[in-house]
Amino acid sequence: MPTLRFKNYRISEKIFVVFVYIFLFVFAAICIFPFLNVFARSFSPEFYIQQGQVWLWPVKFTINTYVKIFQAQGIVSGFKNSFFVAVVGTTVNLVMSFMIAYPLSRKRLPLRTVFTLVAVFTMLFPVGIIPFYLLVKKLGMINSLWALIWPYAITTFNMIIIKNYFQTIPDSLEESAFIDGAGELTILFRIFVPLSKPVIAAIGLFYLIFNWNIFMPAVFFLTSPRKYTIQVVLRDILTQHMLEDQLPFEQSAMMSQAGPQGIQAAITIVAMIPILAIYPFIQKYFSRGIMIGSIKG
């Protein structure tokens, strides 16, 4: 059996492989350096950031900036709202997706084709944003966090993934349960719920990320700063320099104090923490191929 070894490569192949290694290194560096820079900024006093001295490591390490952001009313409520949407939203997502994926996966469902078409068509022909906005308005959900939850209760693509997973569970399993006298609820909670743990975990992660990151609907539907999620709070900091009014800082005290650049960096890092915390799980489920298999099939 022939094995590939670098020393057996022709000269042109060797040059190419060296180029590949360098290219990947440079690309990964471009991807990660900005993150490291912002991380370093969040732990550095404003003065050194303004002087352009902070690169990939904090200068004169301080946690003042973090202390400061957790004293700001708008930022704390932003996190609270985001947590609410993430936790309640993801629960709603999973229950609703499960409730439609399960029946659609069973051939014995009456009008199965019709139901499937109704759901799948919404993937092909996206709802226009303006009629959607008018609906949310009509339902009285403007400036309510529920506007980020109910209209997005089901992502049809994710639902189809759960459905495809259920379809791998053979009909014979429930048929024999029926013969043993099990009812529909028993079959649902004793067979399908336990068997679907991995797919629920994987899709749950995707919904969780979606809910934490949800931004466009928040911009459209949330009108008062009290309801803002952390993503919208961050937008205000970026575009309106809200913080300069909210957290006035003295030039003289800048050596040790938190300033706008540092505060922006610290909020960015904190808003990223939930994603970073679940990142190992994302990788795990991705490598298990649950998401990918569905894209292929």
């Binding site: 059996m1 022939p2 490569y9 042109s12 192949e13 190419f16 492989v17 590949v20 290694y21 990947l24 290194f25 690309f27 990964a28 471009i30 991807c31 900005p34 820079n37 912002v38 303004q50 609703m96 409730m99 439609i100 029946p103 014995r108 469902l109 009456p110 139901f115 109704v118 759901a119 092909l124 226009g128 944003i129 303006i130 009629p131 959607f132 906005y133 609906l135 209209p151 209760a153 529909e184 931004f215 466009m216 459209f220 993503q231 961050l234 970026l238 650049q261 922006q264 960096a265 960015t268 808003a271 994603i275 970073l276 990142y279 994302i282 990788q283 991705f286 990918i292 894209i295 292929k296």
Partner: protein
């Protein structure tokens, strides 16, 4: 089978499985409210709609809004920007992760490959606001790392986000650094399914590295490329609201304002509901036709498709 016996067997199936049926029906209520009612409200695109008069009170005007659309210089600017940015993103942003996957596939060291993958995979899961915040920090004209570097090297600092020349390249570049790693992982997963014996056979036949990439690796991911390309083409008029909205400013409207941001300002902020609904309907219809069309064409050419 006669109609009567068909109805009868359907009735039996229904009675036996009414639990499943009502479960599905409950969720269909959600689909009707949150997806199909907005579909129906798309019809205000054919009306002279005012919120006060409501849906039924507003008069029909046929294709008036659509005609106005294509005579509106502002809309034509936005359409042009959308097409140019989208073409750049498809032309450069779409092939890049394929290149990345092909390159990763040639790396000998598993640790090196995994490290690169782990680093480049993260940004996809970060929201555009957070990513933009990082870009603001790097690109800031006075204190951004990139401009400090440029000035250290003797150059003159550039206000990237306010520059018409830089705005479109920034959109494309940031999409590449944010999302390529994710798509590369999808391609890598497809490559994991390629039979190693094909590589061995190719080596025995004397195929060099480049021939192996061209004749074994690329065909191995052709089906995934095709599917992702069809889906991407369906998004031709979608540049990505969040990315543009958080990065643009009136200084770059001429090159950076796109359909989605225009719709937001005109419709939700400006209250021109019928006009912007017409734009949205135009956009959805083009996407629908592109997915169906490209699926049909590519299926003929490559035997791969969405269904």
């Amino acid at each position: 089978m006669s109609i009567v016996s068909r109805l009868d067997s359907f009735r039996k199936q229904f009675v036996k499985n009414k639990f499943l049926f009502f479960m599905a029906l409950a969720i269909m209520v959600w689909y009707v409210i949150f997806r199909y009612i907005p579909y129906y409200w798309n019809l205000i695109a054919f009306k002279e709609f005012s919120y006060a008069k409501g849906f039924w009170g507003s008069p029909w005007i046929g294709f008036g809004n659509f005609k106005a659309l294509f005579q509106d210089a502002l809309f034509l600017r936005v359409l042009r920007n959308t097409l140019v940015i989208s073409a750049l993103k498809i032309g450069i942003g779409f092939p890049f992760p394929i290149l990345l996957a092909l390159f990763l596939n040639e790396v000998f060291s598993r640790t090196y490959r995994k490290t690169i993958q782990t680093i480049t995979f993260i940004p996809f899961f970060i929201s555009w606001v957070i990513y933009a915040s990082i870009m603001y920090a790097i690109l800031s004209p006075s204190v951004g790392m990139l401009n400090v570097l440029i000035e250290k090297l003797g150059g003159k600092g550039i206000y990237f986000l306010a520059s018409e020349a830089w705005f479109r390249p920034l959109l494309v570049a940031s999409e590449i650094t944010k999302n390529s790693g994710y798509f590369a992982v999808i391609y890598m997963a497809a490559l994991a399914g390629v039979d190693q014996e094909i590589y061995e056979a190719a080596i025995c036949d004397g195929a060099n590295l480049f021939q192996r990439i061209w004749h074994v690796t690329l065909p191995g991911i052709a089906s995934v490329i095709t599917i992702l390309f069809i889906l991407r083409l369906g998004q031709l008029l979608t540049v990505g609201f969040e990315q543009v909205y958080i990065l643009y400013s009136p200084m770059v409207y001429d090159v950076g304002d796109v359909i989605e941001t225009f719709n937001y300002r005109q419709g939700i902020l400006g209250g021109r509901f019928a006009y912007t609904t017409a734009i949205g309907l135009f956009k959805s219809a083009i996407g629908f036709v592109l997915v169906l069309g490209s699926n049909a064409v590519l299926k003929k050419l490559t035997e791969y498709g969405l269904w």
